[in-house]
């Protein structure tokens, strides 16, 4: 048969998978060959028939709801629960402490302790929100809005979107790589969310204006050791590292900006990326 060699490739042609040059040659041939044109037409009809017949099953609304409830909100919900429990524990510990030392402490000390526990609960809430943002982003089909490994592409993308400027560290000769960035909102305040990779781990860096953050974040944290955060890891007094989160996290205030570095990478990696940011700012 004259057209045998063409017909052997007809399906690949109709799937649009021949190399560009061959596609063009095939187009020209099919236009001039009645036999191949007829074959192409029936195969297209067959493809369409299979496509229609193949779209056969639709999930029930009940199943969709079940999946949404059981899968999507799980990480966030368990997070919230963890932090509600942690916050409750903080309050209980503070209350127990208050009762034990009531007799020996002055009324002024008690006021001071209450303030500390309020600060801790508020700080825990911020950490929980940050962890939620990190998890929700990684679960998203499109984790980043600006995809680039080049800091000179990612940084200008935020121009006009956030009310402040920041510096991104040079990553040459480090194990970190920039994946991209997106907008983030904390307490209705816009900020920058950057995603970095280190050995297949994703690390989020959030940057917000310090004045938009709850004052508890920058409060002196002398009693923070007993709760979820320990104090003073970094160069400045406001640096905090979380110990009870299922992630490693570090946060600090620098140049009027509040930084959070969070991820499931080791605390050494989190600290490494935090140091790069501290020296870049």
């Amino acid at each position: 048969m004259v057209c045998e060699s063409w017909k052997a490739k007809l399906d690949t042609y109709l799937d649009g998978e021949l190399p560009a040059e061959e596609m063009r040659t095939f187009d020209a041939h099919v236009r001039g060959c009645v036999s191949c044109a007829a074959d192409a037409l029936t195969r297209i009809q067959m493809k369409r028939a299979i496509q229609v017949a193949g779209k056969r099953f639709t999930p029930s609304a009940e199943f969709r709801k079940r999946i949404q409830q059981s899968i999507a909100p799980k990480p966030q919900r368990s997070f919230r629960l963890t932090w509600i429990l942690a916050a409750a524990a903080v309050v209980l510990v503070a209350a127990a402490l208050t009762t034990t030392y009531m007799a020996t402490r002055s009324a002024r000390d008690q006021v001071s302790r209450d303030e500390v526990s309020r600060n801790q609960a508020s700080r825990n809430q911020v950490f929980s929100e940050i962890a939620d943002l990190h998890v929700a982003t990684l679960a998203s089909a499109s984790p980043v809005d600006v995809v680039s490994t080049d800091r000179h592409t990612v940084k200008p993308w935020f121009q006009g979107k956030i009310p402040f400027a920041f510096n991104l560290p040079e990553l040459e000769n480090t194990q970190f790589s920039l994946v991209g960035g997106r907008m983030a909102y904390l307490d209705q305040t816009p900020g920058a969310h950057l995603i970095y990779d280190v050995r297949k781990h994703h690390i989020s860096v959030f940057i917000f204006q310090e004045r938009a953050m709850p004052p508890s974040l920058s409060a002196k944290s002398t009693s923070a050791k007993s709760t979820s955060a320990k104090s003073a890891l970094g160069a400045d007094d406001n640096s905090l590292a979380s110990t009870d989160l299922p992630f490693n996290m570090e946060t600090w205030n620098q140049g009027g900006l509040r930084y959070f570095v969070i991820g499931d990478a080791s605390s050494a990696d989190i600290d490494g990326l935090a140091k790069l940011f501290k020296s870049a700012s």
């Binding site: 045998e4 037409l41 056969r56 999930p59 799980k74 990684l138 781990h201």
Partner: protein, 162 residues
């Protein structure tokens, strides 16, 4: 939930049982969330999640049963003859309705069914199919060709019986 409806449709075609398909989709999302760190940003997300679903199916009881009787890619060694049929496909199509075609698709071995669905229903490129099924592109092409031929042959036999 990205690709939810399509994943469910694909799962139904693989398992041929709605309840099993629901379990399969649920497990797929759970695994995808848990193993999200293994997803490389910039690579094909759709191929990644379909691959999870398919691998989960293959290790299920139904999947093991469905694949136990099918030889692994005998097509790789053989030359594929051009799929020129004795009965014109137009006649096959005219005489068969959607349900008839669905029955013929159900009867295809799972390896043929999945490659046909990924190509025709999901409209994946050969490269995406290769990534999803973890096979070379050449095998995608030969398997597709065999799947199409098997479907036509099955339709022809069914029409003769009717």
């Amino acid at each position: 939930m990205p690709h939810f409806e399509r994943l469910y449709n694909f799962a139904c075609w693989l398992t041929q049982d709605r309840l099993e398909a629901e379990d399969l989709v649920q497990e797929t999302y759970a695994k995808a969330l848990k193993g999200f760190s293994s997803f490389q940003p910039g690579t094909n997300f759709r191929a990644w999640i379909y691959k999870i679903l398919r691998n989960t199916f293959l290790t299920s009881r139904t999947g093991l049963k469905a694949t136990a009787t099918v030889p692994l890619d005998p097509e790789d060694e053989e030359e594929i003859s051009p799929s020129v049929s004795e009965t014109p496909e137009s006649i096959l199509l005219q005489r068969s309705d959607g349900q008839f075609l669905q029955q013929a698709m159900e009867q295809l071995p799972v390896a043929y069914r999945e490659v046909l669905l990924l190509c025709e229903v999901e409209e994946m490129s050969y490269q995406e199919i290769a990534a999803t099924l973890a096979i070379p592109i050449g095998t995608v092409m030969s398997r597709l060709s065999r799947a199409r031929k098997a479907l036509r042959d099955d339709l022809r036999v069914r029409l003769q019986k009717r």
